[in-house]
Subunit: 272 residues, 4 copies
């Protein structure tokens, strides 16, 4: 009986939608702070200037973070029998462990456990990048992600069109410069894939300066492409900003309605 | 009689507007996939790192794609007598072959037939770029192109003005830097056309870094030009995004009306 | 009497607002084409690759253009007595010659007359840039310039604010990097004016790559400045685009009203 | 009695809200001009090309400016007993000296007093940057700052979300390129913080060209990141521009109302 009580308590603490209070539960709030700290630790761990001579300390920190996240993972799996979303299944915990977010949770734990493992260079780097998955854990408690997705889904047709146009434009620009500059700079424009690198870096206006045309014809074509490209590539900007603002406004309205309803219910309760 | 039946069948498969079902006919859907595949093949064919030692395979693939597109071309010409748009002419097939899209189709086939030809370097490169015309074949089944054109036509006056302003600004910026930097860097600012290359790359904010002013006067002028230019060149962005969104909205409304009408007709049919 | 008739005729041809027909008068249309041609000639005249060995031809062309523009200038001054705007003055022609557009006209003629002068290098370059003033002559017949000015005037308060913010931001960014990078790169960040060149090229996202921070502190500050700057510098974009579109819409409405009024008047006339 | 009269006069001159006339008081107007002049002096003072051989003159100018600002500071503190905002406190002058703007005023005076001090290099540079704080003194009389803050506060939720997304995107892009390019370019991508410098400079489309991927995998990832990043980073632009315009419109309406009310009051007064 005591265990079930504890599980109910833990469920309310871990599942954001089950928390009766406003905002986040203390446990989830603490976990967010730990995630941010763990990400910062994982980032500076890769910088030799900072980590050299502090390997032991950083490994200990990393391992401790891993243990806490492991406990969180086990606790989440344990309490999911309380979740009505999974309770109907035969193995609710196994079912939960198959959800994308649980898989990400598990993947984000693994690298920490190999902190002392002395993995070879390439794998080590992969593991270190894997740690960044911890950020995805924030998605559980974030409305930003939901809004971003909503803005994207609502205008998915436009984004599809624009992405298509962009690819066509990158391909066209790359092909033209391959034709015009291929002989003069075979290293940089000697094939269409190579010229497409130039096209992307130019059309996004990044312009590193590692590849640029040097022949008069190449410069003329590149100038026309840059002007037209800036116009077309700017398209998504306006669309996305408008769509995102709309999603935000809808969200605010919904919240205002919710608050009003809750207050009305409370008043009715107080009265009778 | 069998041939005419076949032609009718082929016409319905090949002409998107003649397809009675929703979306695309199986043949057109397959052709789109083939076009995308053919374009990817044509792109990687130019990259020596990938194509070296695989010339035979790639040439065979290229030639096969060319044969399929040739059959498609002949088939389209053959069925166009069914098309009411061309049926009224004396030589409907010849008339069809004179349409821009049919000419592009033909031009896109030619390079594949020279796959084994061993053309000289410059011509080979031109043929390879010509293959990209296959992408234009997608235009036949695409609403994106129609919308893009509509957005452009509706605001053509604004675009004309903006293009004019842009050219004036590029010319002015180029002339000023030619005057200020021409002596210090004759290679890069020694003539107005040379300085205009700098002006385009700066005003589009690409900024390769191959040409930039080094004298105090040149830097001061370039700074003022960069700030003013960024403001003015950003103009088309907002205009184009707004115009494109309007075109998309009109399209959606039209489709909704069409669906409503179709359903009402169906209901009326079902009833009586 | 014949001379006054001729002057009236010439006035109607030269002054756009006095032309009774639609669009431009034949003389003004021809002048626009000559201006565009003269500008192209002036641009390519500066490029040694094109002009070497063709100096005589180009000088002759330049001189002929100058003569035509000189005749135009004299003709305009001569006919301005017909213009009600200047007719009320004692010396209407002198008054006209004092208007900014007449002064620009005169300045744009001068360089052509020195085509054979063999001026020294710096002065020659100045004269060649002066020729570009011919473009300003287009302003006489252009609505674009009027719209652009209107859009600017209507939002002049916002533009003032934004320009102020921009200058403050450039100054702040420059000062910070002067402080952080001044010791490491005295050539590029050793004074605030030098660091401000970096700030402008970064905040406009041009990013030539001639100056960039190399110390960790400088990179951190530059990163924060780049992100904040991109947000703030993008402000004018939206404002200007919106203001310009509004000016265009008002213009179209006005024209539609004018056309309607003209047609109503014509109908009333036809009726009796 | 004479001193209190003088204090009242000085208060009305120094405190913008106490000035009965329109716009700024003569003293505040003069101070704005002095601030702008002092900032320009401070900027060019750091440039050796200008300041070498003129150290004495510049130091004298700097010291004089410092004395004037010191007098201004003492005068402001002296008159603040007239200010109803501070009059209620026991030590109104001390209370005023604790406000952020008074502290900034004091900090901006200090460097000038050390003009002849011969401070060591690093401290000298810090003092010189400190002089830029004089610009913040303009905030006292500026509506721009108020509007900017209002626009920011109103959309603080959106800006929070966007800043979060941006950081996630910079972190993700940096981690991916660290993984893909870390072995090929350890100097530039050998740690996540190093790769994040690349990510910021690419996602803001600045693109210095000091760091860019050279491996095919790195180039492919960088291309995808550049395209996606340009879309997402452009988000704040639209939002901020819209929010700022709204704030400006509200301000204008408020001013129009104020003018109308003032005029109505004046009329009522004139009547009786």
């Amino acid at each position: 009986m005591g265990l079930i009580q504890l599980r109910k308590l833990a469920y309310r603490q871990l599942e954001p939608s089950a928390w009766p209070g406003k905002g986040l539960s203390p446990v989830n709030f603490g976990l967010i702070i730990l995630i941010v700290f763990a990400v910062i630790e994982a980032v500076i761990d890769t910088e030799p200037v900072i980590s050299n001579g502090r390997e032991r300390l950083l490994n200990n920190v990393e391992f401790s973070i891993g243990i806490i996240f492991l406990i969180e993972y086990i606790a989440r799996a344990w309490v999911e029998v309380e979740n009505p979303r999974f309770a109907k299944y035969r193995f609710p915990r196994l079912r939960y462990m198959m959800t994308p977010i649980a898989i990400i949770d598990l993947l984000a734990i693994i690298p920490a456990l190999f902190a002392f493992g002395g993995a070879p260079s390439l794998m080590l780097r992969f593991f270190r990048v894997l740690r960044m998955l911890r950020l995805a854990k924030l998605g559980r408690t974030s409305k930003a992600w939901v809004l971003l997705r909503e803005a994207f889904i609502q205008k998915r047709q436009e984004f599809g069109l624009i992405l298509g146009m962009l690819l066509v434009m990158i391909l066209t620009a790359g092909s033209l410069l391959y034709w015009a500059e291929g002989d003069a700079q075979p290293d940089k424009f000697g094939s269409i894939p190579r010229a497409m690198w130039w096209a992307i870096i130019t059309l996004t206006t990044v312009g590193y300066g590692d590849t640029f045309p040097i022949t008069p014809l190449g410069k003329f074509l590149a100038g026309v492409i840059a002007i037209m490209g800036v116009m077309l590539i700017a398209l998504p900007t306006g669309l996305f900003a408008a769509s995102f603002t709309e999603a935000m406004d809808r969200e605010r309205e919904k919240e205002a309605t919710n608050t009003a309803v809750r207050e009305a219910l409370k008043k009715a309760k107080d009265k009778g």
